[in-house]
């Protein structure tokens, strides 16, 4: 019932977002129909483009998952960009330091270190929140910038290659590239990262819904006082939650820098981190929801270039649409209450019957 409601809310948000997008296209004298047609074609026209769409979505799935997971524990992880960057850096560092190791050893190590790197970056706001009640939003924003500069100088000091604005390039055995899959998608840059993402979705969904650990996290998220009352350690769970959220963002870094790309750019805070917020929101903070939302955004992102090429509609329209969707998702209260009214109407009758019975029993008392 609830899920179902949330799904409708998300769909309506998307619809409204696209509506606003349409308006902007019309106002700026473009033809929205062809605009959207090209947008979709750009994402799905060919097998390769489908692959690229999936690849674009891969880091978004993970950052979205990261934000959603933190959200379920009542935390707003706006620090995903920093965690992603730092995690990706750690993985890249390993890849560049041991380029000779065979892939089946090197890649797993990179994945793990990337996850740990992100986790470390996530723990800091968690600790500050738990121990000093520092609002995680502000602290994680600071952590984003710190990550940016730390990575900047670390790469400059140890890993610069021919291009001064990027780290050395990872050797193929140190990336998630796999010929069979990119051939499967006619040379798309889709890579093994998508499997990591899907695996993460499954694991997180399992943790949240089936395990006592998930039960604890959600208790803290819904009502930290009740959790405390029940002997659940609020602080421990806050820190753990931020750590896991960070780890997921770290994985996003791995699939981005060692999957979609093969190096780290200097002075670039990955936008996928911020988009994770949008993904999580649209996905109603559920793992599956994040997966679907990420694929949707992936479509928008990989399609917009084609749209611009074909129609000269400025690509910012895509971001505008996304932002609008988020706004409507944030104000879903409106939509929900409207849905509630519909649902109520259906339940009314049954309720009436109940209350009548109760009244009768009371009469008998008297």
């Amino acid at each position: 019932m609830h899920r179902y409601k949330k799904l409708i809310v998300s769909l309506i948000s998307i619809f409204l977002g696209l509506l606003v997008g349409t308006l902007f296209m019309m106002v700026t004298g473009h033809n929205p129909i062809s605009g959207f047609i090209y947008l979709v074609q750009g994402g799905l026209k060919s097998v390769e483009r489908v692959g690229n769409t999936i690849a674009t979505a891969t880091p978004l799935i993970l950052t979205g998952l990261s934000v959603a997971f933190a959200f379920r524990t009542g935390l707003f992880n706006i620090g995903a960009p920093g965690q992603m960057l730092f995690g990706g850096f750690c993985a890249t560092a390993i890849g560049l330091t041991f380029p000779t190791l065979p892939a089946f050893i090197l890649v797993p190590i990179m994945v793990i270190t990337g996850m740990l790197g992100g986790a470390v970056w996530g723990i800091v706001p968690g600790l500050l929140k738990a121990k000093f009640n520092v609002h995680e939003v502000v602290s994680s924003i600071m952590m984003n910038w710190i990550a940016n500069w730390v990575v900047y100088y670390a790469v400059k000091a140890r890993f610069t290659g021919t291009m001064e604005t990027e780290s050395k390039l990872l050797t193929p055995n140190a990336t998630l590239h796999a010929n069979w899959i990119s051939n499967l998608f006619q040379g798309s840059y889709i890579n093994l990262g998508i499997f990591i993402a899907i695996l993460a979705v499954i694991i997180i969904a399992f943790i949240l819904n089936k395990t006592t650990f998930g039960y604890q996290l959600k208790s803290v998220g819904f009502n930290r006082y009740a959790a405390e009352y029940a002997g659940i350690s609020v602080n421990k769970n806050i820190i753990l939650s931020m750590m896991i959220a960070g780890g997921l963002a770290g994985l996003a870094g791995v699939v981005q820098y060692a999957g979609n790309a093969n190096c780290i750019q200097l002075g670039v805070i990955p936008s996928q981190g911020f988009d994770g917020i949008a993904v999580a929101l649209l996905g109603a903070n559920t793992p599956i929801g994040s997966l679907l939302a990420a694929l949707f955004f992936g479509l928008l992102y990989s399609g917009r270039g084609f749209m611009t090429a074909a129609t000269k509609i400025p690509p910012e329209i895509a971001d505008t649409i996304i932002a609008t969707i988020i706004y409507f998702a944030a104000t879903s209260v409106l939509i929900e209450s409207w849905l509630d009214r519909i649902i109520k109407k259906r339940h009314e009758k049954r309720l009436d019957v109940k209350t009548n019975n109760q009244l009768e029993t009371q009469k008998e008392d008297e």
Binding site: G42, K45, E48, R49, N52, A55, T56, Y152, K156, T162, M163, E164, T165, E166, L169, G187, Y189, Q256, N260, A261, N262, C263, Q265, L266, G267, V268, P270, S271, Y301, S302, G305, F306, T308, A309, A310, K312, P315
Partner: protein
């Protein structure tokens, strides 16, 4: 804000120190097929993919784009550009693919970041033409391989910086100079090195007495931190620097702003612009007659893209070659008009330029013995 003077002559020379010796035979075959499939202006669609900055960065991307636009107007071709979401090879490939799939089969990409993306594209889209500026295709191992549907174009930024350095020294005679770079990338570094050599040359041969302190040569570390640009410039000026050479995109914007303000306050503060003629950026009086831009170390990116399009239309697309736009073709240098330079400065500079063209003066494109 770029006083675009039409290219003197479009056909640049092939640099000798070309990493790949170009193969003659395919050259002919290529051109012959070119003749056959010589595209008429109307149906040539030229696309561009922007580098890190925006299309209007008053510098690299904009220069390229202006060249394409000029071609659009004068040669009547369709043009369009795409801005990639990120700066990964995948992002670049995606946008190149978008251009190709929508019929833009002549694609210009500014910046060495495109090297690996173009390497892949030139084989993937064999019926498309590629122009890469400031770089040459390779698979990540720096083993350059310019296919026959691709032209790699370098600029001799060091020569440009050299000329600017000479001009600055001549104009200011004596005092301290500074340099603000964006990120430490080859193009920016070469500007810096050339500038220092130019100043040194003027000091030894032309009787000027300019100094450049180590601490006044900085790479800010980004191309977009405007406040930092202003504050760095302010610091240098306060430390007695007379003129600052800015090769730093948005950071330079901040520096120019500081220059403008100081001049409004009646203080001496010169900026040397970069890439395009930035004279107009530096106006500091009401009726836009006075500018704080002493001169600019220009590299005629616009000519590069324009010339290549023209060549394509003439069926002379120099596929497979690695070209260098340098002083000899006026691909680099200082603007033709320099209201802030005295006539004899201009005369002397012209003389120096001539000597460079004649090879009497050579400028090193590396930082040996120079600051940073």
């Amino acid at each position: 804000g770029c006083s675009a003077t039409p290219a003197e002559n479009g056909t640049p020379t092939t640099e000798e120190s070309n990493p790949t010796e170009e193969k003659e035979a395919p050259e002919e075959k290529e051109t012959s097929t070119e003749e056959a499939a010589k595209p008429s202006a109307s149906d040539l669609k030229v696309g561009m993919v922007t580098d890190a900055g925006t299309i209007d960065d008053k510098s690299f991307n904009q220069g390229t784009w202006e060249g394409i636009l000029r071609a659009g107007e004068e040669l009547g071709i369709q043009t369009n550009y795409l801005k990639p979401a990120g700066q990964t090879e995948a992002d670049y490939l995606k946008e190149i693919g978008n251009l190709y799939d929508t019929g833009y089969k002549f694609i210009v990409t500014p910046g060495y970041k495109f090297e690996t993306a173009i390497y892949k594209s030139q084989t993937k889209y064999e019926d498309a033409k590629f122009v890469i500026l400031d770089g040459a295709p390779h698979s990540g191992d720096n083993a350059y391989d310019v296919k026959d549907n691709t032209v790699a174009i370098y600029f001799a930024e060091h020569q440009s910086g050299f000329v600017a350095g000479v001009a600055t020294a001549l104009e200011l005679k004596e005092g301290a100079l500074g340099f603000i770079g964006g990120m430490e990338i080859p193009a920016v570094q070469k500007f810096n090195w050339g500038f220092q050599q130019g100043v040194a040359y003027a000091n030894t041969n032309l009787g000027t007495n300019m100094t450049i302190e180590e601490s006044n040569v900085v790479y800010q570390g980004s191309f977009d931190n405007v406040p930092a640009g202003q504050q760095l410039a302010a610091q240098m000026f306060d430390k007695g620097v007379k003129a600052i050479f800015c090769a730093a995109g948005g950071v330079g914007v901040g520096a120019i702003k500081e220059g403008v303000e100081r001049n409004k306050q009646g203080k001496e503060a010169w900026i040397i612009g970069v890439d395009t003629d930035q004279y107009a950026e530096g106006f500091y009086d009401a009726d836009n007659t006075k500018s704080c831009i002493l001169t600019s170390a220009v590299k005629r990116i616009d000519n590069a893209s324009y010339d290549m399009i023209q060549a394509e239309l003439n069926g002379e697309f120099p596929g497979g070659q690695t070209l260098t736009f340098d002083i000899t073709t006026d691909g680099v240098g200082i603007p033709v008009e320099n209201p802030n330079l005295s006539d004899e400065t201009i005369k002397t500079v012209a003389d120096v330029v001539q000597q460079m063209k004649d090879g009497k003066i050579t400028v090193a494109d590396n930082g040996e013995g120079l600051i940073k």
